[in-house]
Amino acid sequence: MHRIKDCVNLYAHYVSLNLRSAMQHKASFFLQIAGQLLTSMTTFLGITFMFMRFEQVGGYTYADILVCYSIVLLQFSLAEMFVRGFDAFSSLVRKGEFDRVLVRPRSPILQVLGARFEFTRVGRLLQALIVFSYGVRASGVEWTPVRVLTLISMLLGGILLFAGLYLMYASFCFFTLEGLEFMNIFTDGAKEYGKYPVDVYGERMKKFATFVIPYALVQYYPLQLLLGRSDCWYCMLYPLGAVVFLAACYAFWRFGVRHYTSSGS
């Protein structure tokens, strides 16, 4: 317990240094936050326009999709807020600056995440919260205790899943030295495509999202319970499967750290 508090304090210290750094460049700081607020509103409008033409998509109504999208967007934005520090990881490894991380007696993950904390993400998180609060109310879902628990479980599972993806993305850098751009399909892409439940994309996609990268566990299955399309109360436990995925990604990360060969002098 004491150790966790110690880590949280250190992370908070990193965040505060990042804030002090960011505020050195005032204009850019505010402009970026404002800019971020506007960007994914467009996805939201996209859904609205879609449903002005069609009544249903894959058996889901406008209200259903609204719930789905607002949850996925919030999962993604929360994860991004804390874990996106891995974005610049390839340059950290390529320039050999990961050396510095390794000569300090603290968790490398904590140091990497702390070193890059971009406040522009606050804008995106705010926007996710706005969409979410609108979606939750407009959906007409009746919020029973079971459904509230399901929702919390989805959010937690989603954060863990995206965290695992970012960790996996970073671990690849130990072997390729370059960031693998295609990995974005699984993170930013998942946010875009995740606005519709995975079964909309067909049976194969559902299998992939269940057994390979378990998006369906934090989205499709618990969503059925949330929307009253199924009575499987245990679906609310599915998102916890993301823990297994994260553990696998962490093992891969550990393997990568041992494989790290540094660079230059």
């Binding site: 110690d6 304090n9 250190l10 210290h13 990193y14 240094l17 002090r20 750094s21 050195q24 460049h25 050999g96 600056e97 050396d99 510095r100 390794l102 000569v103 300090r104 007696p105 603290r106 140091q111 041992r258 790290y260 060969t261 540094s262 230059g264 002098s265």
Partner: protein, 265 residues
């Protein structure tokens, strides 16, 4: 206290000829060469020694430092520092060492130096009283008074290096690794750095291991010199040994003569 026995480390390096066609071929078939960075390196360093580690570029100096500081895992061989194996007990080991990479900064670029120091205090879990004590002492010895409130990006190279060295000593390390600490510094800053390192060694008994190309650094600091070339230890002795073997009273000449004689230049 530092013991290295039969350490070996090889890297795989990619090779290709110039030209676009070759670059394309490279996409599909890669050719690797094995480079022996360290080939059966053994030495022992006692408590409170200052040792210069010298050799031409690419001789294996940085690889040795990286193994000693727990960043790299060697292919084979034993290394024990104060009862710990650096790459196995990395977290415990790095809490007791300080590392200065002359070419890479550990200070936050946009914020005053003192902010970086406070982060290091939390990273190394130094308690407030000892932190203030150390800071006062370092400030007096390295004349940091006015620098502490300045953002790192506005410091000159010499000023920055003084801050870098102070930063690596905040937690009273028992061993200090200096990787080219005087590179690019003017005469006054070089003298300041040398004086300080000597004093730190004398008054705190800190063991210092230093890599440098500056023969004056070696003359001013080290009683003992270890010469490495092509991954092998070629000479372990005093400055006089270097001069005798190199066949010149002038250190610079002697080093060059020695490199040529041993065919490691």
């Amino acid at each position: 206290m530092i013991e290295m026995q039969h350490i070996r480390k090889t890297y795989r390096v990619m090779r290709r000829s110039a030209g676009f066609k070759e670059a394309c071929r490279q996409l599909f078939r890669r050719e690797h060469d094995e480079i022996r960075a360290l080939d059966d390196v053994s030495f022992a360093i006692g408590d409170g020694e200052i040792v210069s580690y010298m050799g031409p570029n690419g001789a294996g100096k940085s690889s040795t430092i990286k193994i000693l500081s727990g960043i790299l895992t060697p292919d084979s061989g034993h290394c024990v520092i104060d009862g710990l194996v650096p790459w196995k007990d990395r977290m415990k080991h790095v809490a007791r060492i300080g590392v200065v990479f002359g070419q890479r900064s550990q200070l936050w670029w946009d914020i005053p130096v003192i902010d970086s120091f406070e982060l290091l205090r939390d990273i190394y879990r130094v308690d407030q009283r000892r932190y203030e004590q150390n800071l006062d002492e370092l400030t007096a010895l390295l004349q940091l008074e006015e620098l502490l409130r300045t953002p790192t990006r506005q410091l000159s190279l010499g000023q920055r290096m003084r801050c870098e060295i102070a930063a690596s000593l905040i937690h009273n390390p028992r061993i200090l690794f200096l990787d080219e600490p005087t590179i690019g510094l003017d005469a006054v800053s070089k003298l300041a750095v040398r004086d300080f390192v000597k004093k730190q060694n004398r008054e705190h008994g800190t063991t210092v291991i230093l890599t440098t190309h500056d023969m004056q650094d070696i003359a001013a600091l080290a009683e003992r010199v270890i010469l490495i070339g092509r991954g092998r230890i070629l000479l372990d002795g005093t400055l006089d040994d270097i001069c005798r073997e190199g066949g010149s009273g002038d250190l610079e000449q002697a080093a060059a003569g020695l490199y040529r004689k041993l065919d490691i230049a």
